[in-house]
């Protein structure tokens, strides 16, 4: 048996437990390692329902681990599967919840689509719960396109709409910001990377990004501009936007990032380089990529302090 990726549609807590508790219990009975990666309070709901079996399950708060959907594959799913290299593993992964913003959602949908490319041939069963009563119908429709198997707790069937590449392409869009307030800096040589870091951190501090996040931004700027110089035609335009509670670091170049999995796979131990995008996904709160044959633009979002405090945990769905 190889990988299975199912969307689990539910409308109530009872539906939720009716589908997912047996999924976990069957996995444990088959001696399969099981992980549950969903946001609170659903995490607690499942843990309580599993009783003593919960002790044999790895629980991960997706609200924290999956804040940026782009880091779920390498640091949640892949990490759990890789920690059991000779076993079939089961994972409940819930990247979409009612508190996701319209800016975040495209990265969630693309994440779901990319899972199908990442785990081809791996002994992994992934079930992704979707609240079909509370989520936007578009989200439910996308789930039918990103999951080869659909499941409502009673019936499993192959999705007639399955087309993950269509979802990857549908959300491959340029983002727009207020050009009047954008700050821009061109990087045209390796010596300019250092200058770009200095330029970006100076502006970030002025905008109000905290010291720890300024250090994150410094790494993000360095890695994105380095990628552009190496793979993007030799120069790039760096821009910073103070946008909707976030500092957005935008790096545009003339290269074509053809591989949609770039940045989504774990680091290869001992390798020198090649993990710049992976690192950006670890550091940023959200990463959006617009890829065309004529150029690539990366957008890394860092929440500004006020936005961070405003982000209460996702409401129960």
């Amino acid at each position: 048996m190889t990988s299975t990726h199912s969307a689990v549609f539910y409308r109530t807590d009872a539906d939720y437990l009716r589908a997912l508790v047996p999924f976990v219990v069957e996995g444990l009975a088959a001696d399969e390692p099981v992980a549950v990666a969903v946001p609170e309070p659903r995490l607690r709901l499942l843990r309580d329902a599993l009783g003593a079996d919960a002790d044999r399950v790895t629980f991960i708060d997706m609200y924290r681990a999956g804040r940026n959907p782009g880091r779920i594959i390498p640091t949640v799913l892949h990490r759990f599967a890789d920690s059991h290299p000779d076993r079939h593993v089961r994972i409940i992964g819930g990247p979409v919840w009612a508190g996701r913003t319209p800016t975040e959602y495209p990265a969630c949908a693309q994440h779901e689509a990319l899972i199908n490319l990442v785990f081809t041939g791996r002994r992994v069963t992934i079930a992704c719960p979707y609240d079909s009563a509370g989520l936007d119908p578009l989200v439910v429709a996308d789930a039918r396109r990103t999951h080869p198997q659909l499941w409502d707790g009673h019936h499993r069937l192959a999705s007639p709409d399955y087309d993950p590449h269509a979802v990857i392409n549908a959300y491959n869009r340029a983002l727009t910001f207020d050009n009047a307030t954008a700050m821009r800096f061109r990087v045209a040589s390796t010596g300019g990377i250092r200058a770009a870091r200095t330029w970006a951190t100076t502006h970030a501090e002025r905008i109000g990004l905290g010291p720890a996040r300024v250090a994150d931004l410094e790494l993000i700027v360095s890695e994105l501009t380095t990628n552009s110089l190496l793979h993007g035609g030799g120069d790039c335009l760096l821009a910073l936007h103070d946008h909707n509670g976030h500092l957005v670091c935008e790096v545009a170049d003339a290269g074509h990032l053809a591989n949609p999995l770039a940045g989504y796979l774990p680091a290869t131990p001992g390798s020198l380089g090649g993990h710049g995008l992976l690192l950006v996904h670890q550091l940023a709160d959200l990463v959006h990529t617009h890829r065309t044959p004529r150029g690539t633009t990366q957008y890394a979002f860092l929440a500004l302090p006020a936005a961070t405090t405003d982000r209460s945990p996702a409401p129960a769905t």
């Binding site: 390796t190 010596g191 990377i193 250092r194 870091r197 010291p211 720890a212 300024v214 250090a215 994150d216 410094e218 790494l219 360095s222 890695e223 380095t226 110089l229 190496l230 774990p266 680091a267 131990p269 001992g270 390798s271 020198l272 380089g273 993990h275 710049g276 992976l278 690192l279 670890q282 550091l283």
Partner: protein
Amino acid sequence: MRLRRVVDHARHGAFADRVCRLYRDRAEFARRSRESLAEGITTGQQVWCISPGAPNALPAELAGLSSREAASRDGGARVVSLGSAYPAGTAVDPESQVRVCAEATEAAVAAGYRGLRVAADRTALVATPEQLAAFVRYEHKVDRYMALRPFTAMCAYHHSVGEHASAVLATVHPADNTDATGFRFSDDPVTASALSGELDLANGELFGATPRTVDPVLEAGQIVIDATALEFIDHRNLPRPAEHAVRHDSELVLRGNRAGRARLRQALELHHVRVEPAA
């Protein structure tokens, strides 16, 4: 750790006890030597000018010091041929060369001087890749001695040594007149090795060759690097000293936990790298 800087003159001041100077002609070397040695005499050091050729053929380097007859008469200023100070035509043995410097310094101190100041044209000592690698190791090792004892030097190289050699040499000196490298790798009396500056795509290739050449000291299964003055390191460069540690079956300890460094280590899953606060 000691401070690092770029200098545009030959005086050492309080910051640098070993200056790497790239020069373009003999007149420049002579002028910079005089500056450096005059400062040494002023501070009570014995001064040596080391250059290729026989001592009696090298008057220019010390011409400006002739008025300091008192210092010269009692041996305070010497002109030494390169061949008598270093093994000519072959790679230096780093440990032996440090001992030679130490013995000369201790002799100067025993003679009543406050230390030894050397201005040396070392161009002929780095003519081949093997000589360069050996000399870089010597430069790194002598750092520790110089941190503890009153030995100071202006290490001069003619620009004909080439960009690579001059850049490599600059990375193992506390100060230089090029600022071409963006980072420095020095020996430190406490942690054995210290890194300063910024490391990214611009200097990664040069940095990649340096740990192997410098061969940082391994103690108790650890290579400890004082990184408190390392202002930035990207994900391509952090694995380089880590790889060196792995080759020695040891752990790399980066002392000086600047924000972002631990995140880098975690994201790259460099389990044999430890980031800890500065001592």
